[in-house]
Symmetry: C2
Subunit: 440 residues, 2 copies
């Protein structure tokens, strides 16, 4: 796991003024990655790093010699239209580029002009999915979510006996993952009403979001070669925000026995920015098990994981309805929680995924699963907040929601914050529900 | 759906003698696609078409002017290291290349020398996965398999109520799909013995194969735009053989509630050759429902599908053990069946997959699900043939199998055959179980 080093020093200031403003998501201690281009001009997408309200064009920075020679070639790899080649270079390369950027961006840097000429204001940029995601795996790492949703889908059997023994996961759809700003029509499908003898077909009536973190695989593993716990985090590049949109009525009818399918694969929204594991080093926490729960099997256990397997990423969900947009009201916060409550750590997800010899590849994405916290107001999905739609959430303007309506925009935010460390932000992940193409 | 045309004429003969031999998988009426190169010389993989015991190098054929001008550009696209660009060109391009090749290969073709110079004997070739498979979806289209396996996993509830209403499917792993010849170590994982209070960890004890067909998406659809039944088959490029290796003991413990994961994603083997939907036109059959079963909902129904939605591909599984290889004995046939027994058609799988707006992309792969036929000797997996391992299969040399042993090679074969039509073969799909990396 990443250790604290000079790049984490909370006293560091940048010559990019906006990076020193209190509350910025992107101070010099963060340096997250995205793939961007100037909005609406049709130029090529390429990799960049956020600093304050600017983006450093890494390919351009490599070309104009704005970085020290040792990291030029690494930065040049980020000039591709996806970060896969850079991700495949591994943690030493990631750390070298981070250190090079950190030094070049500090207030006392000797030469600022060349790097300044390679920046674009974030306000003028658009983003795309930052990696070619070969495979996308969604996990289920909040025991609170698993229990809450299990009660609704299987009242007599909410938490399966396997849950406390292994990170439950399943494969999701790569093709429908899109970056913040995604808008998609309400999906249609088969549903079965509780008292019906035949299924119905039509637009989803119980459309929901799921508050998750995405986890990018950096370096892969060969087929047949499991990654051990002690090596697992060195294969992880970083984290993003992820909204696993879910059609609950379609899910309830289709999911047995092979799992969710059309209820999930119509859309998944991710934040453009990937916060590196190294940037998160100040926010690591011990991984513990509740009293009485089984300890992880040896292949899911390590001293480092026990000591600092968890990560304290604060998370919140906001809802902006059509009515709020019309009236100019601010988006309403629906819930807030932290990734620290996850039952399984990033390292455990990766070790479990590969223990059977399954090969991971650079750019593969894991979803954490819905990150509901211990109390109901920390729930990461409407189906939990509203007790299956029975108790609609009341919004500040008097409107209410049992499930999502057309025109609703869901906004996920994430950040790390604690005294003595710099704030590390994730930006936002925003997606909007459009009316069904069937009308009505 | 493809209509019969001059390329299907069973009287056609080729100037490539081996294509006229009775029993060949690759007569002039077939013309399946693969991606190949000369074995062991490190040259680039590129697309080819089988004729008899030869492969036509399509990029080379385009370059040397061996094809009529209208199809040169189409053949040139097949010179890529994957067929995605050709698949994306759509059914008119696929048909034009097929017609061009058919005419150039006929016994009465004027110029044979240029095309002959672009051929490589299959005996000198090696193959790779013929498309960049963005997403792999595995279905469950044999009601006999679903019932047989359901009885073993859920004795009280073998066939879920949704089964007869929708094609059940789930997302699988793309990264571990490999072409015939794949060999992989026996996977390890968690299992829970029936009477145990804690799971065990170790090499899989109930390793199985699954006899499936793979279905390649040719042209995709935009996100939010479902493909209707009448258009569905025009999006399908062709079929291959597929072995969905399965670790039954890992599966039983992990699969609830989100479906199979590590029990499946360690390896999937496909045949190198893709038989086009057009080549299969003579073997189409009506799609029918058993008396008393519900008719498909309108979005899964069409006149063309009722008339000829099914395909009569004969299938068989053979097992070659280490002992057979040592003694020189032939591989033993474990079962034989036909794709005609599938409960859902190719068009229905594609229409269902996209009805929620999920976008498919060229090169995406569907698995049909295990294609067990109506009787137990037509079962497509050992778990069915052996009643969950209780009644081991006896092999011709006196050996027996409840599940697969190390060194076992499973060979899938497929072909279409009927009086008045040319035989259309799929070649073979072969994969081998290696010992666990844990030893023992």
């Amino acid at each position: 796991m990443s250790q604290l080093n000079e790049t984490h020093d909370p006293a560091l200031r940048s010559w990019v003024d906006s990076a020193n403003q209190p509350g910025t998501d992107f101070p010099i201690q963060n340096l997250p990655f995205a793939v961007f281009r100037r909005t609406g001009c049709g130029e090529a997408f390429r990799g960049g790093v956020a600093i304050g309200d600017q983006i450093i064009d890494l390919g351009a920075a490599a070309q104009c010699g704005a970085l020290v020679p040792g990291v030029q070639a690494i930065a040049a790899a980020c000039g591709d239209a996806s970060l896969n080649r850079f991700m495949a270079m591994g943690p030493d390369a990631w750390a070298a580029l981070r250190l090079g950027l950190s030094r070049a961006l500090r207030a006392d840097a000797a030469d600022t002009q060349r790097l300044a000429s390679c920046m674009l204001p974030q306000a003028e940029a658009e983003y795309t999915v930052p990696a070619r995601i070969g495979d996308y795996t969604d996990f289920y790492t909040s025991i609170y979510h698993a229990t809450n949703i299990g009660k609704l889908f299987r009242p007599d059997n909410p938490l399966m006996p396997n849950y406390r023994w292994m990170p439950i996961g399943y494969h999701g759809r790569s093709s429908s993952i899109a970056v913040s700003g995604q808008a998609f029509p309400r999906p249609s499908g088969q549903t079965m009403a509780p008292d019906a003898s035949e299924p119905d077909f039509g637009p989803c009536k119980r459309l929901d979001y799921e508050l998750e973190l995405g986890i990018y695989v950096g370096t892969g593993n060969a087929s047949g070669s499991p990654v051990l716990m002690d090596d697992a985090e060195s294969h992880v590049f970083g984290l993003c925000l992820l909204n696993d949109w879910s059609a609950r009525d379609i899910q309830a009818w289709e999911y047995q026995p092979l799992g969710p399918f059309l209820s999930k694969n119509f859309a998944t929204t991710i934040s453009p920015w990937i916060v590196t594991m190294e940037a998160l080093a100040p926010y690591r926490l011990p991984f513990t098990r509740p009293e009485g729960d089984p300890q992880p099997l040896p292949y899911l256990d390590s001293a480092a994981n026990r000591k600092q397997g968890a990560i304290d990423v604060r998370l919140e969900v906001r809802l902006e309805t059509e009515r709020m947009r019309t009236s100019g009201a601010a988006a309403a916060r629906l819930s807030a929680t932290s990734y620290r409550h996850a039952y399984w750590t990033v390292a455990q997800l990766l070790a479990h995924h590969t223990v059977n010899g399954c090969n991971l590849q650079p750019g593969d994405l894991f979803g954490s699963g819905t990150l509901s916290g211990p109390t109901l107001d920390q729930a990461g999905a409407l189906i939990e907040l509203t007790a299956g739609g029975q108790q609609p959430v009341t919004l500040p303007d008097g409107d209410s929601r049992a499930f999502l309506k057309d025109g609703d925009t869901v906004i996920l935010r994430g950040w790390c914050e604690q005294p003595g460390s710099a704030r590390i932000g994730f930006g936002e992940c925003r997606g909007t529900v459009l009316p069904s193409i069937l009308g009505g």
